[in-house]
Subunit: 266 residues, 3 copies
């Protein structure tokens, strides 16, 4: 049963073990997500060359794939990384950035999902909905405007690909099969800092590296994101000081902040 | 007639509409320019794959092309983006970073200018002068050492390509045909933060998305840059705290700061 | 004889001359290393296109090659840059990020070393040890677990390639042939900020641009890194505020901080 204790335990394990998280991510957020992983106590590595991607995956405890700035060469590396993660039996987190905005992104995200089991898909509502194919859509996801439409799309993806789906928004909703966790933490400043969604995916990798219950791992990462966002907002004047305090809080956050602030809304 | 009211109105429109600004920019500044666009109230997107660049342009309200870290593949995407912007009738802002430093950059910037009408070229004096070809140079731009030489080069470019030209420096000078706006805001710390020139180009994209008078749009972006620079400098101890306060001020700046501080020097 | 006076003199020369440092570095740290170079008073440029890399090297006072995020295309540019630096008689600093982690990285770093004389190799102990080939290893570097094993590896590299080798760690150790400088500055927060090793390499480029005694230049850069780290730690709450204060201190550091704090441990 997911609770503050789950998050506290997973966070302690991340800090004790410093799991290596292999990221193939976009140019915009690489520095931020590496720093977020270091702040929380994990060890980031970024590598995308086809020549080394398999070697690097074999050293890692989780792989985070983020399609924010694609190109052909990078897509090939992503495919190799997903296959290598499968061979090494480590979790893959997929962040389908911008799925739905261009057909190239939607198609790439789907192709990666077809290659092999991913542990967790993490995106916002519209990205998650874009991954549900037209067949599925006609079956049940008619109105796509509400969070519930995204949840229904997430549930379809979870069943189709056997993964957890983490949907960020004013309320963060994580689904896996019939299970659901809803979290009410966070702050409106968060979407005004570039790459905090990508950071959520990177941290999801760190939690998945220490907790094989991926529904819980995904929720733990969103809980820490949201709570650190609230703490940062109390000290920030604008988006840049918000980002600074947020990263500092990933380093500072402990039992008390989690126990006092976690808002499980179901 | 350009005034503080013009800048205030355009800024309000950016915040009300949140225009999507498509950036094909350099690796060094991607995170900074995305954050600057978010801070001011616009929506940044970065995408450079040939497979999707046209789709992304079709969603955007302006395209910003920055040649700061080139390679063949990226140049092709830039060309496609300029053509797509033309087809979609949205403004292109070109930042010819390092034109004049290597012939590859100078040639690439010129090739992009030849493809189709850009709305605004934004660079420093030496970059602007480098874009004027040798023929033009012999006709009038003999001394290249003064700001006035850059202004003359800018005017030649403006006539040749039918665009506004925004020249940054201790005094920012924006020209279009016979028109000129000169602005006296800014701070000497600004060139000690990497990518503030690129940030000026990104913000120019946001202003051009809401104001089709590109001379005014270019000037509005430089006005906000300069004023936020002055405000940041009052709180900074060094370049990093300067950058943080600058980004926060892009979020905080309002009517009062603009009305009180804008220095139109002609 | 290396002393605080050496560092102070070199730092003054960097600030007076603003040497252009050409970086071919990884995507994660480009913004940070550019800002670090600006903060200390140098002029960074990033360029990796084969079409322009030689032109850019010809303008620079030092070249910094960092293999943190490799791909085939970039490796070719790195090779060209090393050759061009040789032709232009300017120092090359090589940061073999992740050598030893994948064979692609180890092989790439070695190939770059074979092309031409580099001035300084800068890495952590395990990267330095990975560059020593198996033949050398059997001769003397049997235990690879102690800093002394890294020093021995560094000395072998120094002799083989005629360069200085700068090994970062709790104690920074710089060797060249029989000479050694050991420095005791720094702070445990430093490895929790991504890219501070890469930043050390970039600053090493700035020092090498003004001091052709590369042992001293490498030590000067590590001295400034360590002292700014100590100063930043006094004001930081976490890794992000640490990074901000560190960059500000690169701008603020002067004679007094260096004279008061430099810890030469041999």
């Amino acid at each position: 049963m997911f609770s503050a204790q789950t998050v506290i335990r997973d966070l302690e394990n991340i800090r004790a073990r410093g799991p290596l998280i292999h990221n193939i991510t976009n140019f915009v957020v690489m520095n931020l997500t590496a720093n977020a992983l270091l702040s929380i106590g994990a060890s980031p590595v970024m590598a995308h060359a086809e020549e080394e991607v398999e070697d690097m995956v074999s050293l890692a405890s989780a792989v985070v794939i983020n399609i924010g700035t694609l190109s052909r060469y990078w897509v090939e590396a992503m495919k190799k990384a997903v296959r290598a993660a499968q061979d090494n039996n480590i979790p893959v987190i997929l962040d389908p950035v911008g799925a739905g905005a261009t057909s190239y992104r939607t198609a790439t995200a789907r192709r990666l999902l077809e290659i092999g089991p991913v542990a967790i898909i993490r995106g916002n509502g519209s990205e998650i909905r874009a991954l549900v194919d037209s067949g599925a859509r006609t079956k049940g996801v008619d109105s796509l405007e509400t969070p519930e439409a995204a949840v229904e799309a997430g549930r379809l993806l979870s069943e189709k690909y056997g993964c957890a789906v983490s949907i960020s928004g004013p309320e963060d909703i994580i689904v896996r099969g019939e299970e659901t966790i809803r979290l009410g933490n966070g702050h409106p400043m968060m979407p005004r800092v570039t790459g905090l969604g990508c950071t959520a995916s990177a941290l999801t990798g760190a939690f998945a590296a220490v907790n094989p219950k991926y529904l819980e791992a995904a929720a733990g990462a969103m809980a820490v994101m949201g709570i650190c966002g609230e703490l940062a907002a109390e000290q920030a004047r604008g988006p840049a000081s918000f980002e600074l305090h947020f990263l500092d809080w990933l380093h500072l956050i402990g039992t008390r902040e989690i126990a006092d602030r976690l808002k499980i809304t179901t």
